[in-house]
Symmetry: C2
Subunit: 654 residues, 2 copies
């Protein structure tokens, strides 16, 4: 029927290996009294990770975030603070300066903005001496008033693009461009343009230089908003992608100082056969192609508005599919029904030319339209009333790449890894609201979660996640600090079996050194001798000679006392089997307790003596094989007291 | 935000006591080779529970369903069977006769229908000799073709009302009345009337006899269908209540042999503050008032279309609220938008009189409209086009009575119980798709799940659930059999604490006999001396003298061996605390293992000797108190061998 049975139909997604925070020795940074390390910026040229926190900006070493190279404080002065508290905001929580914008202006300066007690301000940060210029500018439209409100920003060619709220109450959403000395170019204040959006991401997609058609670069915005085209009992949320053209200057009369190129479309991330829709987007990562724009993909993490117990999905989209919709898609229009109701339906009428919302290109220039200021009023009026396109942006394969239960993904980054089979794999890193990172790979259409890593000590949300291929690191921002983690933990896989069964494209087994090595970190190794098999076929491992039973570890206990035989299997996909003298032990026996980390035999009796073996059996679905391995072997004996000499008096009783 | 956090905001709903199937010694009935015991009918006059199964009808004793008084088989003959298999249906599963209608005609006869190999048939069952008359009638419109399709039926004054599908494919839904010798009165085949409905329940609500306004009795249907008025990516389901008038005869020209009184409205069961909608209804139970119709309530069990992990809700509605909508509510109408789209909006135009869909009453009779055949064409044409009312039916208190996680409720019955505090409590019994029954009570607006009972051996859905106040029993039909359960398990609460903390309105503590007694089963007891406190205030129990430590059970073990100290606490709401020599034991100690049913100390050392106490601490939220009770006490000693006499040789070494 129509009802959902995700639990039985959905893909299984159990991370193979679970790393605990205390096992990993990650690099961490935080300072006493400073919180909300949620704005991160990696410098491409310098060895720097810039961190915007509450009332402070840090420069950390990107090789090692525990090293703090610089710090500047930026607090709120008395007057804005008083104003803020008078308006009913909390002094301790709201009326502080949360740094939310950190953008590169040039190799000398950053542009930084903070919420500044609900009166956002921006300033320039000199990198030479890590000091603020101290000539704060109005931050309205560039930075949010409210530190807890959604917000996104990107700097493109010295111009700051933001998605935020324009007023104190947070009720007036805005997508804007700040390009000094011009005033803001912005969206129309209308629910057709933006309807209670939650901004998650924005970035530029460049056109190739010297294109014959003279197409403009575009800035894409990703957000969730309240749908106008659908209806249910309450508010229906919908994930969107919107775009504007970099060269947009606004209209001459109509849409003066407003975008003439603002268009938006819905993102679809759903399981069509189950009628299940993931309609809230939380983060987007754009994987830009090296050369051709055609290679550019983007990944989004989604949940459902009704997914109250945490069903998260990752969908991937081709940028060309997005472009197709924006350049050729049908527009929607608002129609009035019976005087009082409205409904958004497809516009089937005649379209003005040039196409509404299109960027200026050579074809338009031939018609003497050299900038958006020259666009005809008909085109501008149309795009003002019809910013929404009907055609959906469908994910690659028409379904999520990954669905996980009991998890709320908040952040995503993706790295392309060239494996030894000469194939490029997209490795997906997703951060959760509980401080955990999932690392997944798509192999032959099937997703495999290789690892889950407890990155944060506390079970708090991952607020920001960056990846540096240069340092082979992930950088995580949270309310309580910054954590740096390697992208792979190959060396922690101690056997070839474990290294191969991990199915990690970063890792391969080096039979010479008998270690699991990171092929991305040290690509110049003699890769010919390395073993990697992303289907998890551990039979490719060199055969290991069986341990003779006589070499099993000897465990001797007193009769009636308990014996613990440790056996640690790291893989959550492996089944643990205990054998005693060749036969499999079951839970049924009341004198055995098969725990996660070993076997406990309490009240050991003489019949318990013998050989004990702990076997790990792991099914590798992509290889279609089971792999068994002896993890531990023990010889259990009783420490019997020496038989007493026959006692003549006692024997008379026998 | 708009996102859901049911997990943190929703009411907690953990059943206090869990009863396992094997603990309860329930009465069960099934016969080898017979399955699908899903149609149940309790006889009011006779000691009989009639059971419709696959190809068989049983008469069981309603006092004890293990007693089978009668059985008749009703198999499919060769020709329909061949037809069925030729049409591509499975011989073993589909082309059999599933009995789906069992209704009382009079004290001599039942009317029975079966799917009969996708060619539904009905017959009369003589109760005297429990034989079928053998003159089968066409069952189309009375019984479903498909045994797995949703279906509901009710017999009112010798007329059979059904909600089912009218064709082999199951694509033509129908709500019909069969009143021999007339032909079927039925719904229009139109998505405005019924749009892929799943029928769950139907029943009659009688008007008081001799009402001045001469109002007619009404038959209410409950179902989930695909919404026409809301839109999203896919199909949006919506729970409905529809009603028809008993005296409806159809129209003269318009709506000939169709209902002239078919109207429907949406049922709302939602958490408005969370924007969370339970939009699928699975079962309804009508709690009819003794005298005044105003007392009549109905309960529904709901899930969400997106509740893929099992969030179930129970909503209660006043029947007067339903009547209000049907007699005064606004109609919806289909409007065309831009030629090609439709939208359902409120009808604000002039209404024909008499009110479309209204039952014939004295006012109409004064206008010479004595039956629906006399209704004017304008009224009929209007109701044909406007069967849907705009106003919603809101639940009592505007929210669910009960929300439970990780459970899918399939069935509901409710019994009103007069407690010793002279208050009437509605006790809600809900059956799940895993064979479990929940028993809940609403106390001062807060719901308390008293018990969960594993009624079925297998984890299969409860398909039917009936309650008899006469036998104090619940009857459960499932694919594999019939189970009879008492409505209360008072005597299983062995202490006054447990009896009071259960908060079961059926149960009270009798201090004279020191037993927990069922006050409903034996209401003539000396109720003055009984103790009942539905807030769970166990301080009302007679005080129990403390057990002196010297009377604790002695446990003697050999040094180094393990000791098991059992302690069984039945309440899931209680916390179990172990004390050793007065201090609380924690999980930290590696030589203790605090299990569900006791304490395990392995490798007992001399320092482990002493007193051990198992305490149950239970919080009763309605009483606002904690109740602690000693559940078990032990004295642990070591069985030390007698100290050997000093050995002169050994002492030289010391």
């Amino acid at each position: 029927g129509l009802l959902l049975e995700v639990s039985t139909h959905g893909p299984h997604a159990v991370p193979r290996t679970s790393w605990k925070q205390q096992d990993l020795d990650l690099m961490e940074f935080s300072e006493p009294g400073v919180f909300n390390y949620s704005t991160l910026l990696l410098s491409e040229d310098r060895d720097a990770l810039y961190v915007g926190a509450r009332e402070a900006i840090f420069e950390l070493s990107k090789k090692n975030v525990t090293i703090r190279n610089n710090k500047v404080q930026w607090t709120v002065t008395e007057i804005p603070m008083t104003m803020c508290t008078l308006k009913g905001k909390s002094k301790e929580r709201d009326c502080l300066n949360y740094i939310r914008v950190l953008q590169v202006v040039d190799d000398q300066k950053l542009y930084v903005c903070g919420t500044h007690a609900f009166q956002p301000q921006c300033d320039y940060l000199n990198l030479a001496d890590f000091s603020l210029e101290g000539r704060p500018e109005d931050g309205r439209g560039k930075c949010s008033f409210d530190p807890s409100q959604s917000f996104t920003t990107v700097m493109v060619d010295g111009e700051l693009y933001s998605g935020t709220a324009y007023n104190f109450l947070g009720s007036e959403p805005i997508i804007s461009r700040y390009s000094p000395p011009h005033s803001l170019l912005r969206t129309e204040y209308s629910t057709s343009w933006l309807n209670e959006p939650s901004f998650v991401f924005a970035d530029v997609i460049r056109e190739r230089k010297n294109r014959a058609d003279g197409e403009d670069d575009k800035i894409y915005y990703f957000f969730t908003e309240v749908s106008v085209e659908y209806e249910f009992f309450g508010k229906l949320l919908i994930p969107r992608v919107a775009r504007v053209c970099k060269g947009d200057l606004g209209g001459q009369r109509t849409l003066q100082k407003k975008w003439t190129s603002f268009l938006k479309a819905k993102l679809v991330c759903s399981m069509p056969e189950l009628n299940f829709v993931f309609n809230v987007v939380h983060d987007v990562f754009i994987l830009k192609g090296k050369e051709a724009k055609e290679d550019t993909l983007f990944y989004g993490v989604f949940t459902s508005q009704w997914g109250n117990v945490g069903l998260s999905a990752v969908c991937a989209y081709n940028m060309t599919a997005v472009e197709e919709v924006f350049t050729k898609g049908k527009y929607m229009q608002k129609a009035t029904v019976e005087q009082s109701h409205t409904k958004w339906v497809r516009y089937n009428g005649i379209m003005p030319t040039p196409r509404p919302g299109a960027c200026i290109n050579n074809l338009m220039r031939q018609q003497n339209i050299n900038s958006s200021l020259h666009l005809p009023d008909k085109t501008l009026q149309f795009v003002k009333d019809h910013p929404l396109l009907e055609d959906p942006i469908l994910p690659i394969g028409n379904r999520p790449r990954l669905i996980t239960k009991d998890v709320n993904y908040t952040q995503i980054v993706v790295e392309r890894v060239l494996a030894l089979d000469k194939t490029i794999y997209d490795v997906i890193f997703t951060g959760t609201d509980k401080g955990v990172l999932h690392k997944s790979v798509v192999f032959e259409e099937e997703v495999h979660i290789m690892e889950e890593i407890q990155l944060l000590k506390n079970s708090e949300p991952i607020k920001n996640l960056l990846l540096s291929s240069e340092t082979q690191s992930l950088y995580v921002g949270s309310d309580s600090g910054v954590v740096q983690s390697p992208t792979a933990f190959c060396s922690r896989y101690s056997s070839c079996h474990d290294c191969i069964l991990s199915r990690d494209p970063y890792c391969a087994w080096d039979p010479k050194t008998a270690t699991c090595v990171n092929i991305v970190a040290s690509p110049n190794q003699q890769s010919r001798s390395l073993i990697q098999s992303l289907d998890g076929d551990a039979h490719k491992c060199p055969s290991v000679p069986a341990v003779p039973q006589k070499d099993y570890q000897l465990v001797t206990v007193k009769p009636g006392s308990s014996a613990e035989l440790p056996c640690l299997v790291k893989s959550n996909l492996a089944q643990l089997i205990w054998k005693s003298n060749g036969s499999v032990l079951t839970e049924a026996s009341r004198f055995h307790f098969i725990a996660e980390n070993g076997l406990l035999i309490y009240s050991v009796a003489p019949e318990d003596q013998g050989y004990y073996e702990c076997w790990s059996v792991e099914w590798a679905p992509a290889a279609g094989k089971n792999f068994s391995r002896l993890m531990a072997g023990y010889t259990l004996t009783l420490d019997l007291p020496p038989r007493p000499r026959a006692d003549p008096i006692a024997t008379t009783f026998s």
